[in-house]
């Protein structure tokens, strides 16, 4: 368990640093639509895949990457819906982006189910 705990702490620190770095890049760039590209940066993947390869091997990480393609497509649906709702009805950004997270989850598992058929 201690090695597992150490791995989790390492994941947390590495993930935090990479996500913060991409967030800073998003603040630096203009126009805002370009800065938005960094909202879909591969921050979690960069922080996680290296550790996964070290502990479980490349074949396991390649399987994760295959599912990540589907997760990215679901993210596309989620971000498009969020953009449309924010422009059309002007609700609070945090409300919309959090309320739509089940859409990402549903689309992800839907795509995974379709891919597994």
């Amino acid at each position: 368990m201690p090695s597992n705990l150490g791995e989790l702490v390492f994941r947390f620190l590495l993930g935090g640093v990479i996500v913060t770095a991409f967030a800073v890049l998003a603040e630096i760039f203009r126009p805002k639509s370009f800065a938005g590209l960094f909202g879909a940066a591969p921050s979690i993947a960069l922080a996680t895949l290296g550790i996964t390869i070290a502990h479980r091997g490349k074949a396991y990480a390649a399987l994760e990457a295959r599912s990540m393609v589907l997760g990215a497509l679901a993210f596309f649906c989620y971000a498009t819906a969020a953009s449309w709702l924010l422009m059309r009805y002007r609700p609070h950004a945090l409300t919309v982006t959090v309320a739509l997270l089940p859409l990402w989850l549903g689309a992800s598992f839907g795509f995974l189910w379709l891919a597994a058929r």
């Binding site: 935090g16 996680t48 490349k58 990215a72």
Partner: protein, 163 residues
Amino acid sequence: MRIQARFAAIRGIQPHEYLARFVFGGLCCVAAGLIAQHFGPAVGGLFLAFPAIFPAGASLVEAHERKHKARAGFDGRNRGRAVASVDAAGASIGCIGLAGFALVCRLCLLRLNTGTVFVLATAAWLLLAVLFWLLRKSRLLRKRRTGPVPSAVKPAGPGAARF
């Protein structure tokens, strides 16, 4: 439209905003690892594309724009939400790059060394994201006006062209 880098914008980020992103990003990575451990790589892989930074980012974009307008004496709520919408549209284009990143990892991980794969995949993400952003901004995908120009906006005389 020109892409600009304003490094002075870093000074505008409050310490608690850095902390929120660091903690949320770290927790998302831990959760992705635990989910993969319990449910396997197929389900765990989905969470590598979890919109980790997006809700906090969109909310902060809205707050910054609202404060910016408030300093100028305006109620910037609508403006803040419109800018958050533009930011989200940018993220949706970034998702195409994210899918490219995953595809490069999927195809190259078993053939090349890990460092090379990460460099190639990150380059693919950036290239695809910027390419599709430029395509979106170009005239190619914009609606063209095909109808006659309304008389009210027609140039009135010799000096009117500069307006």
